[in-house]
């Protein structure tokens, strides 16, 4: 079982790394949000893989379902904020948000 667990953890770490890299390097707001989604996928894979390895799939599944519901709420709110930012600044460049002149 440890080998399977190792395999899942290896890939979920790769997903989290790819997302973190894009969060640090990209400038487009939608791209940044896609990176957050990739990190979320890595975390949900990690949760369920650990439950699978420890014979606790049902609890892990309940946690993943909760996580998905929170993720949807987060996505809806964040995309609404992104649309409002676009209406104000006419751009999706994250560097333009550093200007707090109004």
């Amino acid at each position: 079982m440890t080998n399977t667990w190792y395999l899942y953890l290896f890939f979920s770490a790769a997903l989290v790394f790819a997302g973190l890299y894009a969060l640090l390097a990209k400038r487009n707001l939608i791209k940044l949000f896609i990176a957050i989604e990739v990190i979320a996928k890595g975390v949900s894979l990690l949760l369920l893989a650990t439950g699978f390895a420890k014979d606790n799939v049902l609890v892990a599944q309940a946690l993943v379902v909760t996580f998905i519901v929170i993720e949807v709420s987060l996505v809806a709110t964040a995309l609404a904020i992104i649309i409002n930012i676009y209406r104000h600044t006419k751009s999706l460049d994250v560097r333009k948000l550093a200007k707090l002149k109004g």
Binding site: Y6, Y8, A25, A35, Q61, A62, T66
Partner: protein, 160 residues
């Protein structure tokens, strides 16, 4: 094992594509494919409810929301990105994969083996009886999301 490994490799490949592609629409579609693959992986781990949620909600609803946002912000592609970012990514990624392969097995051995007993019962029992507080939290989060979206899209007064 081979099928599961190839699914996992596909998952990482499509998420890397979602990050690296310049066209936002293509990136959103490859994110949807990533969710689909993750849902199939969940099904193969005997977690059918999580798989259904992943495929229907994340691959369906979130992709629709992303595409809607990309359509509403049609100048989003004009954000200048540094070319060095995409060129340096494979280098960093391969370095991380090598470190990951070397370190992860050692880290796993250090995790203490907690006592775990095989579960009995159905998923509904675990969710409704074992994780009742989570459900209350979910309802609160959904309401918070609904109110925040309503507040963000409200019609502005003439004074604003």
């Amino acid at each position: 094992m081979i099928v599961q490994t190839s699914l996992l490799v596909g998952l990482v490949l499509f998420s890397v594509l979602a990050i690296l592609l310049r066209d936002l629409l293509r990136a959103a579609v490859s994110l949807a494919v990533t969710s689909l693959l993750l849902g199939i992986i969940f099904f193969r781990m005997n977690a059918s409810y999580a798989g259904v949620f992943e495929i229907s909600v994340v691959a369906g609803l979130i992709t629709v929301l992303f595409i809607l946002t990309i359509a509403l912000t049609n100048k989003g592609e004009e954000v200048p990105e540094s070319k060095l970012v995409n060129l340096a990514f494979p280098l960093f990624f391969v370095a991380f994969i090598i470190i990951d392969a070397l370190v992860m097995k050692g880290l796993l051995r250090k995790i203490p083996a907690l006592p775990s007993s095989p579960e009995t019962g159905a998923f509904g029992d675990v969710l409704w009886k074992g994780r009742t507080l989570d459900l209350v939290g979910q309802i609160a989060v959904i309401l918070a999301g609904v109110f925040s979206v309503l507040a963000l899209f409200r019609k502005r007064d003439k004074h604003d």
